[in-house]
């Protein structure tokens, strides 16, 4: 009978254990109803934007019993905007005894855009109360991370921008020299200067990217870009985007964007395309006309165009003509005429006419340009088909003959009188 009771009790015990075992299945986690762990230290706690650093978190078992199979976990959703890289769940130890400390390390990345302030990140600790226990307990601990301003100044200053030559005209090839200086307090490496070259500019004989291997604090270096500006480019200020990429003292890639302007300005726009002389041969006393064709070779309208001719006092009837406006392009040629009346007493030879074009450019600046045009005054053709020299000789001969005849008459008269 006793044996029967013992069997019944065993069966009851087994039947009572089965539901309990079904309740605590392996891998099941239940929140701890007491505090087993505390964070005793966190290092470092201050981070700068763009930082990538390892944080050490020291945790102590403050409960009177050991913890088995201890693991830690950070939840990426709860940690945002602070980013934890590498593995988020870490196995710590098989057993952490009472009052025993352990340290876990996480790599933390702080984004550039993270506002300054303090962020609280949960760190969850899992453990078992028994060795090789399948039931895990968990406790959420919190660490505080402070994001502060970086005391290291990392910046490259553009201290000077020059062009060679200084004045750039449409169609010119020129050098653009940018002087960079490390105005921060840490050295910068692998500096890449990138110029955004767009039409009407193009790069000639050099890349739009230039490199500087190292810039110490306070050090300056020059980068040179060779550029060509299209000859049809209108005169104005053109904007260039300039990018600097470099690695800072922590080997992180930094970038800096800026822009500057380059003025393209035409210096000489008007020119004499043709000078037509009619008749083509001028003699002392002859009359005619001289036509000066003026073109605007630039890309802007020029105003108050005047053509003045110097040095034609004995050749021209007027010395200045007003044209007004000349639009750019060869189709907008302007012709101005000057009357020709050659002084009859003028000496034959080449006469230089200084043809001056005065005008105001698009900026209202007064400009002038002069050209020497050589007019040949030839000897007038005589109605008698002999040269003036022959005529002179004939005149001398006549004078001599007359004088000789006079002498003959005087000598003959003297002889006759004596007889």
């Amino acid at each position: 009978m006793l044996y029967r009771y013992i069997v019944i009790i065993i069966i009851l015990l087994i039947s009572s254990i089965q539901p309990t075992m079904a309740l605590f299945e392996p891998g099941e986690v239940e929140p701890a109803k007491y505090h087993q762990f505390v964070i005793t230290s966190v290092s470092p706690v201050e981070f700068y934007p763009s930082d990538v650093r390892t944080i050490n978190i020291t945790i102590q078992n403050i409960y009177g019993y050991p913890a088995f199979g201890v693991t830690t976990l950070t939840d990426k959703n709860k940690a945002d905007p602070i980013k934890f890289t590498h593995e988020l769940k870490k196995y710590v130890a098989d057993e952490i005894g009472p009052n025993q400390n352990f340290t876990v390390q996480y790599e933390v990345y702080i984004q550039d855009t993270v506002p300054r302030g303090t962020y609280y990140i949960p760190l969850t600790v899992f453990w078992s109360t028994v060795k090789d226990g399948t039931v895990k307990r968990q406790e959420d601990l919190y660490i505080g991370i402070k994001i502060i301003e970086n005391p290291e100044v990392i910046k490259i200053g553009i201290v000077n921008i020059t062009t060679i030559p200084e004045n750039i005209k449409p169609g010119d090839t020129f050098g653009l020299k940018v002087t960079l200086r490390n105005i921060g307090n840490s050295k910068l490496n692998q500096i890449r200067a990138l110029l955004d070259v767009r039409m009407p500019f193009s790069s000639v004989g050099s890349s739009t990217e230039q490199y500087i291997s190292l810039l110490e604090p306070g050090q300056s270096e020059e980068v040179l870009f060779n550029l060509l500006v299209d000859k049809q480019t209108p005169s104005r200020l053109y904007n260039f985007n300039f990018t600097l990429e470099y690695r800072d003292y922590t080997n992180r890639l930094q970038s800096q964007h800026s822009s500057f302007g380059i003025n393209v300005e035409e210096v000489s726009e008007a020119y004499i395309q043709d000078v037509i002389l009619s008749p083509t041969t001028l003699n002392p006393g002859s009359e005619g006309i001289i036509m000066v064709k003026v073109a605007n070779a630039g890309t802007n309208v020029i105003k108050n165009v005047r053509v003045t001719v110097f040095g034609g006092e004995k050749i021209l009837t007027q010395t200045q003509n007003f044209i007004g406006i000349i639009r750019p392009g060869t189709s907008a040629l302007e012709t101005t005429s000057f009357g020709v009346r050659v002084d009859p007493e003028i000496e034959v030879g080449n006469y230089g006419l200084n043809i001056n074009i005065n005008y105001d450019d698009v900026n209202g600046e007064h400009r002038s340009r002069s050209n020497l045009y050589i007019i040949k005054i030839s000897e007038k053709n005589s109605i008698i088909p002999v040269s003036s020299e022959i005529l002179d000789y004939m005149l001398y001969t006549f004078i001599f003959m007359a004088m000789s005849y006079g002498i003959f008459l005087m000598v003959g008269f003297q002889i006759k009188r004596k007889k």
Binding site: G311, E313, G352, I407, F408, V411, G412, I415
Partner: protein, 272 residues
Amino acid sequence: MSKTKKLISILIIIIYLISLVPFIIASNAGEAGIVIGNQNIDVNSLPDDIQDILIYKKGSYNAILIEDPITEVNKLKGQVAKERKLVLSKETQDKGSFVSIADIEMIVYVTSYNIIDQPFEKLIVGDVKKPEFGDIIETINTKIGQINNYISSTVLTLPLVLSISKVAFLAGGLLVVLILTFLLNSMVALWNIPAIIVLYSFQSFLANLVAFLNNLDVDSTSLMFGLLFIVALPLTFWIQRYERSEEGRQKIHELYEKNNQILSKIKSKFGM
């Protein structure tokens, strides 16, 4: 003929020949003149259009301002001045030098350029050099300066000396023949005619010689006339002797009478 008359005659011929020299040298040196200004100019500082007419467009040129002591130009308000020429040359010459311009690349009458802050009428691109016998002109110019300094006045100038020389060149031959005639005979003679040819031909010969030494062209008429004195000189002496002879005097009388007859016929034909 007395000894005094002979001496005076020789003296007159010598003075005449000496007075010819300045004009013959100055007028047969081509484009020439006295250097009155000298400045070294970088090609880039010249006006663009002047640069266009230069062959060498790099380096520097000497801008030499010379004044032609013979050629005159009409200025504004009826003024007359000696022609000034600006020579752009690779060579240089000192102030006061008498220079001629060789290897001329361009001659242009220009009045509107300010290159050395002094006006000029002609712009010449070429080389300056000393012409043949140019030292004589320089010496005359120096002596004139010394005389002017001595008398503290500028009465005497090189252009004035050259003008006197020019008068001697144009009228001197005739005057010398007439003076010699009156010294020898006190009356005109037929030998005067070839004698005039002799003197003017010899003048022309000297001028051609100087021009030839300065590598200038001499036209064939001048060349032939310059050699005419070789024939005219013996002819002069022959005529002088012939007209003194009785035969010569008779012949001249006959010719004079014939001439009178012809003139009378012409007069009667025209009712004079």
